[in-house]
Amino acid sequence: MAAGPLRFRTPHIEELPITQSRQAPGFAWVAVGGPPEDPSKNWGTTNRKRARASAGGQTDAQKEALSARQQKEIERKIRDLNNDNSKDVQIPIPKKEGGGGGGAARAGKTQNTKKILASGKTFAHYLDDEEAEIARTGRREGDVEIVAAPVMMQRPSKTPIARRKATEDSSLDSSPAPTLPIHQGMRPPPVRKPSVTSTVDAMDLDQDEEADRSIPSEAEIEALLSAPPLTYNQARAAPPPCSAPPPRKFCEVCGYFGRAKCMKCGAMTCSVLCKDTHDEQRCLKFYA
């Protein structure tokens, strides 16, 4: 017999929600409170709070980790917030009054423009295309620097550049230190620098002592400037550092700080009044 309850400590794993939700079969890390306790205690307790409290509790991290469904819900809300057009509306472009070579002009004058005008691609398509191209060939269309093909990228990466590990050695996302190969025959466009040296000296006055605080040399600055632009996903801001305070929750009904969670659906409310409103009107588990 087991001397005590088996308790598995799961490491804190944070699943960052990605913008696409695929229908692929898979799994999700879910915060688990541990196996149910010794059956002689709290038997028959349907009060989940009591059962959870006596089961030894979860770590703080496990308490904060959201279930996969909640995460998907949040992603969907954010996508809705960032929605450009009004919902479910198809607005056709009005025909120009007075024709004027209507048909040909509408469709575009050359092959290329015809294709562009007729295409129904959305931004998500373009992004995916770009990431697929990078995963395939290691460089973007139009970048001349041939970088080494990225090592073993099974899926195009959507992590912002600040969160990528250094093991991915493609030059596209290495640190901005001047390690990019610069081909011959390529010079940055002539830039006017009338008095760079004098202003550099002026700013250097207080910082002469600390070697790493000095203004970088011309060559380093040029290397920085001629680095290729980041891709759309690389330039996204990274999540806050772990030391930041946990996210604040607000009351669903009135907007004040949330103080209590609804046991059925998990929404936060601030007071008994708001909780009553929530139970009557907005609780999702009303009929459950």
């Binding site: 960052l16 057009n85 373009y126 400037l225």
Partner: protein, 446 residues
């Protein structure tokens, strides 16, 4: 990929055309105007054109581009379709309609002949290469502008008059500038050196004016039905929202709390306002007034209590919790750092020696930065995050919406600089689109 010349007898010379059209192509509005080497640019030269196609159920009319601000007077239940998605022009069919109505149509104020005009077009930073190619092809093959220069929009700020120093001569960029563009689709942070962006350090926060408007719409629809009223909610946001100081966010929220079951509180009426919604018959434009708890909303709406018939929305903590999203995106669960944190991320990817010059020249532009208290809050937060030995100066451009356009206009005045940057139509037809793209990225010389 060389292409044959088209059959049109266009002016394919290597010279600059006499006039330049500067288009700051934003997701919400296009700022457009002409400039040439002889004129001085005035902010009045810049016309603001709504970059959308809007359908009004009440008028049964579809407004394209400039028609919206010029001709529409009933903005209720207006459905929008925007060709610009996430900051980039994706739907060229719609964009072509807007551009044609703005520049080619006989009735437009900015009528011009593209064959005789240079074009300076802005795009959002970190654009996918395919979208850049689409833009180049549309400009040269469809509209057939004489010459063309495409640039990320923050770069043009370096040429505009800056609040930090005396305005440079036209065509000379400011040396170090950290541009924070709080736009409609997102917020970008771009360090500029001599007017050129330092690419590894550009960052983007996915919260912009659009997110804030949609969030406010969700919050308001708890009380009043505004699901279809994009334009009106946007006006509410612009009129009523402000940014509270970081130390006072909690105390502000406390003040507008109505209290709990056992300790009801009187609501602080200095923050809570009543907003009167426009109905475009008597009230043409919504306005706010301090909250009057004695007025019952229902009675007022029906005109029963003797006053004029008004639809009132009471707005309390939404006034400052909505713009708070820019500083704490985790409030809605977005896994991104707030604006000051993102600025830090951008700085940390630069060598330490460059931190001080950039921190001392932080320029805030963009329509969504016009919230009262925004710049003060940003400066305070940034001050808290960086060590004491750095000087931190944050300033907002004089006209946050038109600043990029002003920079472009100033750049266009200096013919020499302009000539180095643009690609003429003949060059495009000779060398092809890949060459053009590399030219704009600064990788190829003439």
């Amino acid at each position: 990929m060389a292409r044959k010349n088209s059959h049109k007898p266009t002016a394919t010379t290597n010279e600059l055309a006499p006039r330049t059209l500067i288009l700051d192509n934003g997701a919400h509005t296009i700022k457009a105007g002409f400039s040439s080497s002889s004129a001085t640019e005035e902010p009045n030269d810049c016309h603001i054109i709504a970059n959308c196609i809007a359908r009004s159920w009440r008028d049964k009319r579809t407004y394209v581009g400039p028609e919206l601000l010029d001709e529409c007077w009933d903005f209720g239940e207006l459905a929008f379709r925007r060709p610009v998605e996430r900051g980039f022009v994706v739907n060229w069919e719609g964009e072509k309609a807007v551009w044609e109505r703005s520049f080619v149509d006989k009735r437009s104020r900015l009528k011009c002949d593209p064959h005789e005009t240079n074009l300076i077009l802005t795009e959002a930073p970190n654009a996918p290469a395919a979208l850049q190619r689409n833009a180049d092809e549309m400009v040269f093959e469809e509209f057939e502008f004489a010459t063309y220069y495409r640039t990320p929009s923050p770069s043009l700020n370096a040429y505009a008059p800056s609040p930090f120093s005396l305005s440079p001569a036209p065509g000379v960029p400011l040396e170090c500038l950290l541009v924070i563009d709080v736009g409609h689709s997102h917020t970008t942070i771009t360090p500029l050196y001599d007017g050129r962006p330092i690419n590894p350090a550009c960052r983007r926060l996915e919260i912009g004016g659009k997110t804030l408007t949609n969030h406010l719409k969700d919050l308001l629809s708890r009380n009043v039905e505004v699901k279809n009223e994009d334009w009106i909610v946007q006006e509410i946001k612009e009129d009523v929202c402000f940014v509270s100081a970081s130390s006072s966010f909690s105390s502000d929220l406390e003040r507008v709390w109505k209290g709990g079951h056992k300790d009801p509180r009187a609501v602080d009426t200095t923050i809570v306002v009543d907003y009167v919604l426009p109905d475009y018959e008597n009230v043409k434009r919504g306005f706010a007034r301090p909250h009057n708890p004695n007025v019952s909303r229902k009675e007022r709406a029906l005109g029963l209590d003797g006053g004029p018939r008004e639809h009132i929305v009471t707005i309390g903590n939404e006034r400052f919790t909505v713009p708070e999203l820019l500083f704490t995106p985790s409030d809605i669960g977005m896994q991104q750092d707030g604006l000051p944190g993102t600025i830090l991320q951008s700085l940390h990817s630069l060598p330490e020696g460059l931190w001080q010059p950039f921190l001392a020249n932080v320029l805030v532009v963009g329509g969504s930065s016009k919230f009262p208290g925004f710049v003060r809050r940003l400066e305070a937060e940034l001050r808290m995050l960086v060590s004491d030995e750095f000087v931190v100066r944050v300033a907002q451009a004089e006209d946050p919406v038109k600043n990029v356009w002003l920079g472009g206009a100033k750049l266009a005045r200096d013919e020499g600089v302009l000539k180095e940057r643009v690609v003429t139509r003949q060059e495009y037809l000779e060398h092809g689109d890949v060459w053009t793209r590399r030219r704009f990225a600064g990788k190829v010389d003439r």
